[in-house]
């Protein structure tokens, strides 16, 4: 069974005037189909306003479909009785870490989630320790979140979600506000959770270099999925992704430019190492 199944999903924002008459209907999601297997790492790309966040909010039942359906681990998000369990199955991490941290001590913040789930105290502490260790923040357990860097705060927010033992994490632009190192830390943490704990990851981002490790990439535009494939397949089509207001990692673009100038490089180079290897082959 898929971890996440999205079938013919349509979602409309309906605007009404003061009398309640419908003024306009905006289709934020337009007939989207998406399957995510357990343990997959998938990335969703798309311009501002393309429907990425609206889609993400369907996965843990913050929004309900206007048409079609969303199933999380087989549970239909439209059925209210599933709500509690869906939110435990799929956790969300948002863009701004400062909006997600509520306690004055790191370990209390991480414990807040499981406490609300009614987990016994002893187990809460075990989970807090394990989650903080998983994101590499155990040594800061007694710190005030105020004193942490952006990347560290975001890792604490991820630990807070992990402590609820979700099978799936949805991250909505988790690195938009971070410096290069913070971005690296967060992405490394997410990959680690995906590999070691087999957590299903759905990453929404505007940073192309963060999606090169994903199993599959979806590109959205105007509420529809326009491209899907492995990162290599997607970034081979540099001209096409630019049409959707996106770009490629800088090294991919460099390789693409070199190819255009006549250099015989393979398609879809994604990392510095790959480019170096390709150049070495030519020099031989």
């Amino acid at each position: 069974m898929e971890m996440i199944k999205v079938k013919n999903l349509t979602f409309e924002y309906i605007r009404r005037d003061e009398e309640g008459n419908v003024e306009s209907i905006n289709k934020a999601i337009d007939n989207v189909n998406l399957d995510v297997k357990k343990g997959d790492f998938i990335a969703i790309l798309g311009a501002n306003g393309s429907g990425k966040s609206t889609l993400a909010k369907h996965i843990n039942a913050i929004l309900y479909p206007t048409d079609g359906g969303v199933w999380v681990n087989g549970m239909n998000t439209a059925e209210e009785k599933n709500l509690w369990e869906i939110r435990q199955t799929a956790g969300m991490v948002f863009q701004n870490p400062d909006n997600q941290i509520i306690a004055t001590v790191v370990e209390e913040d991480v414990g807040f989630g499981p406490e609300n789930l009614g987990v016994p105290t002893q187990e809460i502490w075990e989970r807090v320790e394990k989650s903080l260790e998983a994101v590499g923040m155990l040594e800061f357990r007694n710190s005030s979140p105020n004193k942490l860097s952006g990347g560290q705060k975001q890792r604490v927010a991820i630990a807070g979600i992990m402590a609820m033992k979700p099978q799936c994490i949805v991250l909505d632009e988790p690195t938009a506000m971070l410096d290069p190192n913070g971005r690296k830390e967060v992405i490394a943490t997410v990959r680690e959770l995906n590999k070691k704990e087999n957590v299903t990851v759905i990453l929404i981002t505007h940073h192309m270099d963060e999606v090169i490790y994903a199993d599959k990439v979806f590109v959205m535009e105007r509420g529809q999925v326009k491209m899907e494939g492995t990162p290599r397949e997607i970034f081979t089509r540099v001209d096409e992704i630019k049409k959707y207001r996106l770009d490629a990692p800088q090294v991919t673009e460099l390789a693409y430019e070199l190819k255009k100038a006549g250099v015989n490089l393979p398609d879809g180079i994604l990392t510095v190492e790959e480019l170096i290897e390709a150049i070495k082959l030519i020099k031989k």
Binding site: N48, N181, D209, Q250, L258
Partner: protein
């Protein structure tokens, strides 16, 4: 020299147990018409530094000169300074509040006490400068896309006719095209109007394309001020400071480490391309 900082220090909550030395002994000068990129890890003091430039924060000690005048001198007109040094905060679209785009931009100059016609002319001109067309003047700012909102917010500052424009992470959260659009607009303002630009960013790839000089902040200190080429050649030190160099700089350096004879100072795609084509003898 348009802006001079002379040993500027700022201590938050000075004299208490929570005292924190946010910026330490900062000295630099910026010429009129320069494009400065300001980089540094989160919490390195970038935002504190730029708020000194238009007098929003008063230094604990040290001197700041704008166009030759000490801004801490008695009778110095700080209001005027703030109209000359425009500051665009992070996520400036959160500060939009009026019912139409045009009214929002007119708000700033109106507060300067200018007559109505002048204010409207300035607002109109500022919106043109950031590429907001006539069709959007009467739209609600809240109906616009993220990139458009941000450009309207920048127009609000431009309408004050500043000589210096400071932008704190103007591209955070925008999609790549939106990011390029804003940066292109800023470069255009710099080129066409001779504005001095100070751009705070976490995107090393972007800043390498635009800035004349980079200022690097680390733990409250200004540790480097030089061209992008020189700064990014210290990429290992930058990593120690939680920063990085553009990907292409890494490509060139790895090639060199592998024994190829290449020039490593490329910081943009075009420069790297030329260098690699030379290596491969195309």
């Amino acid at each position: 020299m348009q802006i001079i900082f002379d040993k500027v220090n700022y201590i938050y909550s000075g004299g208490t147990a929570f005292a924190r030395h946010a910026i330490k002994d900062i000295s630099f000068s910026i010429n009129k018409g320069e494009f400065i990129g300001l980089i540094g890890h989160t919490g390195s003091g970038k935002s504190t530094l730029i708020q000194h430039m238009n007098g929003l924060i008063k230094a604990t000690n040290g001197h700041i000169y704008f166009n030759g005048q000490d801004i801490y001198e008695k009778n110095y007109d700080l209001r005027k300074l703030r109209s000359k040094v425009g500051l665009v905060f992070q996520y400036p679209e959160h500060q939009l509040f009026e019912t139409t785009v045009f009214k929002d931009v007119v708000f700033g100059p109106t507060n300067l006490g200018l007559d109505k016609l002048e204010c409207e002319l300035r607002a109109y001109e500022a919106l043109k400068m950031v590429g907001i067309g006539d069709d959007l003047l009467d739209a609600s700012p809240f109906e616009l896309s993220g990139g458009q909102k941000r450009r309207v917010a920048i127009a609000g500052v431009l309408a004050m006719k500043p000589e210096v424009l400071i932008l704190d992470e103007p591209t955070a959260g925008l999609d790549p095209r939106g990011r390029d659009d804003i940066l292109e607009k800023i470069a255009e303002l710099h080129r066409d109007s001779g504005l001095t630009i100070i751009l705070v960013t976490h995107s090393m790839e972007d800043i390498a394309n635009y800035a004349d000089r980079l200022f690097v902040m680390n733990r409250g200190e200004l540790v480097m001020q030089d061209t992008a080429k020189v700064v990014f050649s210290h990429y290992k030190e930058l990593e120690q400071m939680h920063l990085a160099a553009p990907q292409v700089t890494y490509v060139m350096n790895v090639l060199k480490d592998k024994g190829y004879r290449v020039n490593t100072d490329a910081t943009t795609i075009d420069e790297a391309k030329e260098e690699i084509l030379k290596l491969l003898q195309y």
